[in-house]
Every structure is written in structure tokens, then in C-alpha cells.
Amino acid sequence: MTEHEQFAEDLALYALNALEGDERATLEKHLTTCSACRLELEQLRSDGALLALSTMGPKPPARARQRLLDAVAKEAGHPSVAPRRSWWGALGWAATAAVILFAASLWKENSALTRDLATWRSVASQEQLELENVQKVARAITDPEVERFTVVAMKTPPQPQGKAFYLRNRSSLVFVANNMPSLPPHKAYELWLVPAQGVPVAAGVFKPDAHGSATVVNPPLPAGIEAKGFAITVENEAGVEHSTQPVMMIGTGE
């Protein structure tokens, strides 16, 4: 058995936290230098997650829900994060949860081969950046100055629908879509901000999950564009800067 085949089996155990002792230390050392093994580890953890995800059982007792909400209400009085009161305290969590909920319905294609675990780890360690992103998103949804746009398909049902929450003064955009038809491989939807003047601006590429839901969160946008509306086209999955495709969905402000 080659060294790498040996690591393959140890990886499976490691993915389940079942590897110990010297073998664990050896594998951990190997992982620092082998991105192929890091990727496989990620995959094996996901395989293990299938065991967890598909566990069925009784529902939790009804009282657990209120117990949680009571505990949270107590904690909300003493936030452990020191936020600015203006938006994080009362509304930030609602917005974050909304984004989490929508983001949670994303189906990720198996593109593990294109990811580098080390990259994710370095991102993971940047807690402050994450918190800032969450804060931006929270603002985007809850700020009273947020303009809301709904885009709808121009054809008859099933009705794809999207909602864009755009905060112009922070160039912050959260877009949520439902009932989007699935796409052939290598194709994706692209979101466009249609300005009051000038050509549409690329605002993110997305693919719907198995339920037709998708989210775009804070794509890079030029500062302070006034949006007349938003539109969606179908492009190759890398997206384009300028579209030549017909508009599939379009909408203006509410």
C-alpha cells in the first residue's frame, strides 16, 4: 500500500474524529502539505454528515422552543458583542437570520475539486471580516432607506420571482430568488442592476438549488448607483461584464 493510500483510510477515520495517537499526528502533519487530502477530508466529512442529516426521530418537546427564546431574550439584554445600537441590537439578528435562511437553501454543486481548504481556513480565521459582512447584510435588509425591488418572469407560471434589497449609500445588495428553473450545466443566472442612466451593471452570478431558490449577497458594485430596477439573464457560469442575452426577468421598485 502506498503512503497516500494509507492516508486515504486514515482520512476517513479522521473525518469522523475517530483517529488517535501517532497516526493522527502523522496525518495532521501530512494535511498541512497536501491539498488533495484536505479536499478529500472535506468530502468525507460531508459524507459523514449524511448520516447525521438523515437521522430521524421524535420532535423536540414543545417547551424547548420557549426555553430557547427566553434564554435569548435574557442574553439580548447583555450583548456579548459590542455593537452600535443603531441597527445591530434590535434588527440585526432578524436580517442575519433571514439571509442565513435564504442562503441555507442553496444547493452547492460538487465543486470540491476547485476549492482549497487552506483558503477556507484563512478566511475562517478572519472573524472580524465575517462580522462586518454580516453587519452589512443586516443593514441592507433593515435600513428604512433600503429600496425593494421585485423581479418577475415575463412568461406565465411557474412564477420565478426575486426580491432585491438595495442600499444605495452603502452599495449593499441582497437578492433572493424563488422558483427559478434549473439550468443546464455550465450555465448560471446573472443579476443586473439597471441604473437610471447607463448600461446594466453586473451584480452577481447564481444557480438555484433543488427547490429553485438562490441568493446573492453583497456582490461588488460601483459606489452609489441609482437603481431603476434589476434584471436577470442566463449566461455561462462564469458570468459576463456585459450581456448579450435576452432578459429573462425584470423588475422595478415597489
Binding site: 430521524m56 433571514a98 475562517a124
Partner: protein, 164 residues
């Protein structure tokens, strides 16, 4: 006091509490302990919503893995082993809906059912009882190498069942 915050958390709870509780109960076998883990997992999410971002996969899968890890730690009375922010579950589908989960559970049962019993046992001992490979080997009387092979091919079998 009902604020936007609480109803948002309640929404996440309503969507994902079943899978979190089911995993905790499966590992701990005790409803009180499972309920405690359920609380801890959601409180942790409440305190640190930035710990999860969609680049890391589906929230349901992430919560299921966090729950399993926390429950194992509680079962074995040890300190948490992995930082939750290191958990990346990139390819598992999000199975929040009960219909989805039933279908997935059936598929998993199907895969486990066609496995040799010794393989299924090894996988479950590692996953739901948090046993180390040497503990499994000594409990089953099988060689270490055999346990390793079984667990790896068990995970691959699950993977294949969910690939398109």
C-alpha cells in the same frame, strides 16, 4: 418581549430543530441531554451568527455536524474538539424539510442495509458513539486495518448513493 430578533431565531429553530434534536438524541439516547444540546447549538448560533456563511455549504448539514460533535463531546465528557468555525460541509444537501429528510433517511437506511452488518456497526460506532478506531477494534475484536477499510468504504458508499 417579542422583537424581530426572536422571531428570526424562532424561524431558524422551527426549520432546523428537528434534525438537531434527532441527531443529539441518537447520540445521547437521553431526551433531557438531547434537549440541552439542542439549546446549546441554537444559543451558539444566536451568539455568533457569523460562524456560518453560505460558502461553507448548507446550514442544515452544518448544524447536523455541529450537533453530532457537541453530542459526542457530551457523551464522552470531553472538551469540544473542533472549533465550530472550522467545520466545512460543502457538498451535503440541505435537508430541512421533513419530506427531504425522510427520503434521505430512506436512502441512507438502504445503503446501510446492503452493507455487511460489521461494516454498518463500525460506521455507527464511529459516527454516533464517537468511538476511536482502536476502541472499535477492541470492542469488535477485528484488526485495526479492517476497521479502517470498513469505515472508509462505508463513507464512500454513502457518497455514491447521493451522487447524481
Amino acid at each position: 418581549m417579542k422583537s424581530g430578533d426572536q422571531s428570526a431565531l424562532a424561524e431558524l429553530y422551527d426549520r432546523y430543530s428537528s434534525v438537531v434534536y434527532a441527531v443529539a438524541l441518537r447520540v445521547l439516547g437521553d431526551t433531557g441531554a438531547a434537549e440541552d444540546v439542542l439549546q446549546e447549538v441554537f444559543l451558539q448560533l444566536w451568539r455568533n451568527p457569523g460562524a456560518f456563511d453560505s460558502a461553507r455549504g448548507s446550514l442544515g448539514a452544518w448544524l447536523a455536524v455541529i450537533t453530532r460533535n457537541r453530542a459526542i463531546d457530551a457523551l464522552r465528557r470531553r472538551k469540544p474538539e473542533t472549533d465550530i468555525e472550522d467545520v466545512i460541509v460543502s457538498v451535503a444537501p440541505d435537508l430541512a424539510g421533513n419530506a427531504d429528510r425522510s427520503r434521505a433517511a430512506e436512502k441512507v437506511r438502504g445503503v446501510l442495509g446492503t452493507m455487511p452488518a460489521v461494516q454498518r456497526t463500525a460506521l455507527e460506532m464511529a459516527y454516533f458513539e464517537g468511538m476511536s478506531h482502536s476502541e472499535i477494534a477492541s470492542k469488535t475484536g477485528e484488526p485495526l486495518g479492517t476497521i479502517k477499510t470498513r469505515i472508509r468504504s462505508g463513507l464512500i458508499a454513502l457518497r455514491k448513493a447521493f451522487e447524481k
